[in-house]
Amino acid sequence: MTSESSKGISRRGLFGAAGAAVATGVAGYVVHSAVSGEESQAADNTGPVEFHGPHQAGIVTPAQDRLHFATFDVTATKREAVIALLKEWTAAAALMTAGRDIGQYGAVNGPGEAPPEDTGEAVGLPPARLTITIGFGPSFFVDAQGNDRFGIKAKRPAALVDLPHFIGDDLDPNRSGGDIAVQACSDDPQVAVHAIRNLARIGFGTVAVRYSQLGFGRTSSTSRAQSTPRNLFGFKDGTANLKLEDTDKLEQQLWVQPEDGPDWMVGGSYLVSRRIRMTIEIWDRTSLGEQEQIIGRGKGTGAPLGKADEFDAVDFNAKTSDGSLKVPADSHVRLAHPQFNKGAELLRRGYNFVDGSDGLGRLDAGLFFLAYQRDPRKQFVPIQQQLARADKLNEYIRHVGSGIFACPGGVTPGSYWGEKLFT
């Protein structure tokens, strides 16, 4: 389980505190690391999130404000190369999440003749609650011809399914798939970008970036301590999300249990990513009443239609005076609700994105949807099938990118990401 530091620690100040633990955790891969000079303004909420634990950080960690997500294709053909990379990545991730430079000398303390080990743009910035989370896609286990690429075909979990085609899917292969996914979340966009940039650099020759996505403005809450943010349609998003405080529910819905198998996934979770383009301009011309009918919630309060408070339970039977349902049959809230999905829930931690504008001058914007779950066959797939068939919101969104990844359980000090997959 992750934990948050109660007070912020700057990159400089960290050396004595969390630094020791980091050094132990990655012993064997990196001897020590330098901390580049320069004072930083440490404030609350800027500190590190513990990297090690029974679960990977970045899943139930209270959703940070920024995202840099990337997927990689493995270009190497040797199992050993993949293992070596995962070891190096793990060490680097532990350092970066602790707010430290990577490598022995970091960004500025190395020899002048060599390029710096750390790219340096996070020097002086606090850890900013950086988390780095890894997952393995179906293609990591077997290639398109069904070949066992790295001797781990037999370890592919049954729950790591190839996602079916959903009605309306308009997927761009260049924004879909990937052998390995890395999700970097932070409250500082530069810290998140720094993480992916350094991992990509370490990976040259072994992996190549397939696509990456920047996100801002978390579109869900994963803790009751957080307020509910708004998505780009202006609606509160994540009101009824699974929260880290729901520990029993997380065991049922989020974390892979020993009986689920395989062993290496116990304590892990399955991630589904979807790049959902929103037709912003069309939405903005839609009347307030219709927007609320489509979502099933009030735009101002976030309350279910017919209720006053955001957290009031939805009354799916309530009728208006003319006999129609207050929360319409094709509203997003109804169709996505566990009551209409055999109790299935998801832990969402998606982000807004705006990648400038497209060739027609329209915002290339939407929601980079990220959802974790115990078994996509029982959760994301049937929920999305239902939404794709009937959700009124489909008129205003289009799924253009897709991915599914098995995110193993947490890393213990001295271990590396996915170690049990290779032993």
Binding site: P164, H165, F166, I167, G168, D169, D170, T279, E281, I282, R285, T286, S287, E290, G359, L360, G361, R362, Q385, A388, R389, E395
Partner: protein, 380 residues
């Protein structure tokens, strides 16, 4: 005889004729206002639209339209801003059909559309008689609904006829004819799409693109046949989809004829049609095999305009400035589309990014004021 010989350029000519001048068409004497009762006979050919008189009495009027041309034609009576007062669709060569329409005092345009595309051949029509009674706002809104219902009805009838022809061509294995009829029959669908869409699962059966289909469900409808015609240049195996299409279209038509609409639904329908243009047509995603998107584009626009114009009298009272804006912006989009016209329809839509952006920009400019109509209509 009151003759109009060509599109647009002849408007001045028609006015001159009304003034009993003879410069435009010497062989035909100018119409004598109010010199007759009984049906107005309309002689339509591929290049003219002649009315036996251009001045009628207010009240119920009958126009008896004879198509002496080689193209299928339509006849409309438009009020200001191309508000449809009445129309007959789909008059084949050699056929004669009547339009019976209630016309209050005012200025109108009589329009023939040979080939059923474009602005048509237009001339003025004056209705005189007892001044029209002032209608209150509720009545104006009710009339808007009635007027638009007539429009939906006429489109629905033509949709069924043209789809029947299209299906016959597909089943006869006539690829060329099927290709020619594909965009024509779709035009009627696209004009009343929001109404058709309101009948739930019929829309996906008739108009789904390939990616709209869930695995395990069969892909049917227009685009299924479109793919075979353009990608494989064949109608082989398409007979069952053709039959199914006609069955589904007939169901939609039967429902569309009796559907009860509200003024707000008109306003929203007009907006939705432009949303369709903005998301599917400008981008060229709709007719991805045939590239006949611009036919659909035009039809969506016409459908949107018909709904807006039905509301026009009510809108005029509440927000005259909005009406002016709408007129200007509709014109701009039609003008942008005109660049892509051919004699019988539209060029294949293979526009560059810059051209797409240009079209998108005028559509956005129009969609914004159209989206305001519902709010104006809802105001008490």
């Amino acid at each position: 005889m009151f003759t109009i010989t060509a599109r647009r350029a002849t408007a001045a000519c028609a006015v001159l004729l009304l003034a009993a001048l003879t410069g435009c068409a010497k062989e035909t004497p100018a119409a004598q206002p109010g010199d007759s009762t009984g049906p107005v006979t309309v002689k339509a050919t591929d290049s003219e639209c002649s009315l036996s008189r251009s001045d009628v009495k207010s009240g119920t009027n009958t126009f008896s339209v004879a198509n002496g041309g080689s193209k299928v034609t339509e006849f409309y009576v438009y009020a200001d801003g191309d508000r449809v007062m009445g129309e007959v669709e789909n008059i084949g060569p050699g056929l004669k059909r009547d339009l019976i329409v209630e016309l209050p005092t005012g200025k109108y345009q009589a329009v023939c559309k040979p080939g059923m595309v474009g602005d048509g051949i237009r001339g003025d029509l004056t209705v005189t008689g007892a001044a029209a009674a002032q209608v209150d706002e509720d009545t104006a809104l009710k009339q808007a609904v009635d007027s638009y219902s007539r429009y939906v009805n006429s489109q629905a009838i033509a949709l069924e006829q043209k789809t029947t022809d299209f299906v016959a061509a597909v089943k006869a294995g006539d690829v060329a004819k099927a290709k020619a009829l594909y965009p024509v029959s779709r035009s009627y669908w696209e004009r009343i799409e929001p109404v058709a869409e309101s009948f739930g699962d019929l829309d996906p059966k008739i108009d789904a693109r390939v990616n709209d289909v869930e695995p395990g469900t069969e892909w049917t409808g227009y685009h299924r046949i479109e793919q075979a015609l353009w990608e494989k240049n064949t109608t082989a195996g398409m007979a069952k989809y053709a039959d199914q299409l006609l069955t589904d279209v007939k169901t939609v038509v039967a429902k569309a004829k009796v559907v009860k609409l509200t003024p707000l639904q008109l306003a929203n329908g007009a907006k939705e049609l432009l949303d369709e243009v903005a998301t599917g047509k400008v981008t060229g995603e709709e007719d991805r095999y045939s590239h006949t998107d611009l036919w659909d584009f035009q039809a969506n626009l016409e459908g949107s305009q018909a709904a807006i114009q039905a509301l026009r009298p009510a809108l005029q009272k509440r927000d005259a400035a909005l009406v002016t804006t709408l007129d200007t912006d509709f014109k701009a989009v039609f003008a942008a589309l005109d660049k892509y016209r051919t004699a019988d329809g539209f060029k294949p839509y293979t526009a560059s990014e810059a051209e797409k952006k240009q079209l998108g920009t005028v559509v956005d400019a129009l969609a914004e004021p159209v989206s305001k109509v519902a709010g104006v209509i809802a105001k008490k």
